[in-house]
């Protein structure tokens, strides 16, 4: 990055840690005897602790949502477009908390951390955690910060599902919930894509049943393939067409099997850089958490019944070109909230960027997002 930090940035941030000694009973039936959560915070918590906003990250996200961890960092946190002074989630008004989910690979307990019972890396022995478990663990984080009720819980994609689950399972602790580019559960097609990604990882000879670190290796090929596939589902045909079209790297066709089209080169770059920053076991775990998410399941598959407990007011946002979680999937959530008589608003944003649109500073999206959060701020300030 440049010498000076942008004026609308939260600036330099240092992550915080929470170590929890109390065992956490997980949905899968296993127990984490103790765990750690890494998280970042931006802005100031007010005296009555009523201005806290929880950010839930998506599949490959982490706790570093905004600002810079060092002056050398080239890119800010993953949702810097929406978090900062004067931005949609205005850190002049809100105290923003973003944890790395359990099972993640950026500092919270997960496959790439040490199992305190054995003194060795968890690896594939880390239990499969679910969205329910994330909410439970984050409630403990909220307790530790003396936050009884979030002014808002906000998330996109898998983070949106998590935000929705917060509002359903701990209704008195969420005043507003913003569910962006999400779905009430995965479709068969969504699960199918996840399964191809998992198969890519598991069939890499370097995977070693998930014990690759013991063999001092990484299933690069498999994790990279998984990312390539995922990346295609995050973009729209239109966005790829606009960005790459059929452009050739060398200007002419080579009649060979090396990288020729710009899109191939881009996907390879994505795959290589992802392998550097992400753990294969975490990828497997996160896709499973996505597959299992289905809050209506315990309500006879009736989503309206599932959202009945919600006390929060909600804003649901979808994007026209998102085919991973299309506007129709968001409408399933909206319709359940409507038939349960809940307070809900819904916007469908015209966007060409596909699923990834939720991370982009699209003017109409940001205007609605900011307007809603200004109302939340007004309520907080009474």
């Amino acid at each position: 990055m440049s010498d000076s930090l942008p004026a609308d940035s939260v600036g330099l941030v240092t992550p915080s840690h929470l170590h929890v000694e109390t065992p956490l009973d997980l949905e899968c039936g296993r127990t984490l005897p103790q765990f750690d959560l890494i998280y970042e915070t931006y802005g100031q918590l007010n005296t009555d602790k009523s201005n806290a906003v929880l950010i839930c990250h998506a599949l490959s996200g982490d706790h570093h949502a905004a600002g810079f961890n060092s002056l050398e960092e080239r890119k800010p946190g993953w949702w810097d477009s929406a978090i900062g002074p004067g931005k949609a989630i205005d850190t002049n008004h809100f105290f923003v908390v973003c944890p790395n989910n359990l099972g993640g690979c950026k500092g919270s307990s997960g496959p790439n951390t040490i199992n305190p019972e054995t003194g060795k890396l968890y690896g594939p022995d880390f239990p499969i955690v679910t969205v329910t478990d994330w909410v439970k663990s984050q409630a403990i984080l909220a307790d530790s910060l003396a936050i009884q009720k979030w002014a808002a819980v906000v998330g996109g994609s898998l983070g949106g599902m998590q935000a929705l689950h917060w509002a359903i399972s701990l209704p008195d602790r969420v005043a507003h919930v913003l569910v962006i580019a999400a779905a009430p559960k995965l479709s068969a097609q969504n699960i199918a894509f996840n399964e191809v990604a998992r198969t890519a990882i598991k069939s890499d000879p370097e995977f070693h049943q998930g014990r690759y670190q013991e063999f001092n290796t990484v299933p690069r090929q498999g994790l990279g393939l998984a990312r390539m596939l995922g990346h295609i589902t995050y973009l729209s045909d239109e966005a790829m067409g606009e960005k790459f079209g059929r452009e050739l790297r060398s200007g002419k066709i080579q009649y060979g099997y090396d990288v020729e089209f710009q899109i191939e080169s881009y996907l390879r770059y994505q795959s290589i850089s992802f392998v550097e920053r992400f753990d294969a076991n975490t990828y497997l775990l996160m896709t499973k958490a996505l597959d299992y998410f289905d809050p209506a399941k315990e309500f006879n598959d009736d989503l309206t019944q599932a959202v009945k407990a919600i006390q929060a007011k909600s804003l649901i946002i979808s994007f026209t070109s998102d085919w991973r979680f299309s506007p129709l999937r968001s409408l399933e959530i909206v319709n359940a909230l409507l038939s349960a008589g809940k307070s809900v608003s819904y916007a469908e944003i015209e966007a060409t960027q596909g699923h990834d649109a939720f991370l982009m500073p699209i003017p109409r999206y940001m205007e609605i997002f900011a307007s809603y959060m200004q109302q939340v701020a007004k309520e907080v300030n009474g």
Binding site: K313, N335, L338, V344, Y346, R364, K378
Partner: protein
Amino acid sequence: MTLRVDLQIISDWIPDNAHVLDLGCGNGALLKHLQQRNVTGYGLEIDNSKFTECIHSGVNVIQADLDVGLGQFADQSFDFVILSQTLQAVKRPDFLLREIMRVGKQGIIGFPNFGHWQCRVQLGLGGKMPVSKNLPNAWFDTPNIHLCTLKDFEKICDQYGFSVVNRSVVNHEHKDTLGIRLLPNLFGQIAVYLIHNGKS
């Protein structure tokens, strides 16, 4: 903030604590006004900037196209369904009217009266499609594609078995003149109807 004439009439008809659906809610002024009386519900709006105004003023708003109907709402799930100054702009007013009376216990419909004498003079004597303060667009670019008169509206209600519980016909100044009382279809500029299912 003062409400638009038709919205003031509608507001007067809605009791405290009612649950309402406002179709084509614009900037949410009516719903915002009704919030003071504990009236709950949603607005439906398709226009981007009006939608954002709703969000900005804390009104529940769903981005939706009225032409596709109200399929997301259950039968009889609202005390009132409101459609003000929009009936004439939808593709199938007959379809929307039936949808309104399916999801609402009562419907409140407001529209510009095309039977007003000025419209009749412009068309009948001038031989041109009417343009007025209420209907300011030329025939080729007007969003108002299904204009009707009081008589037309009452006829379609009768046809579908909706009865008129209340009717308010006024001019632009929200005045109820002697002329309007005697000949509403000739002198009324804005009509608002309160209708319900079944014969009264």
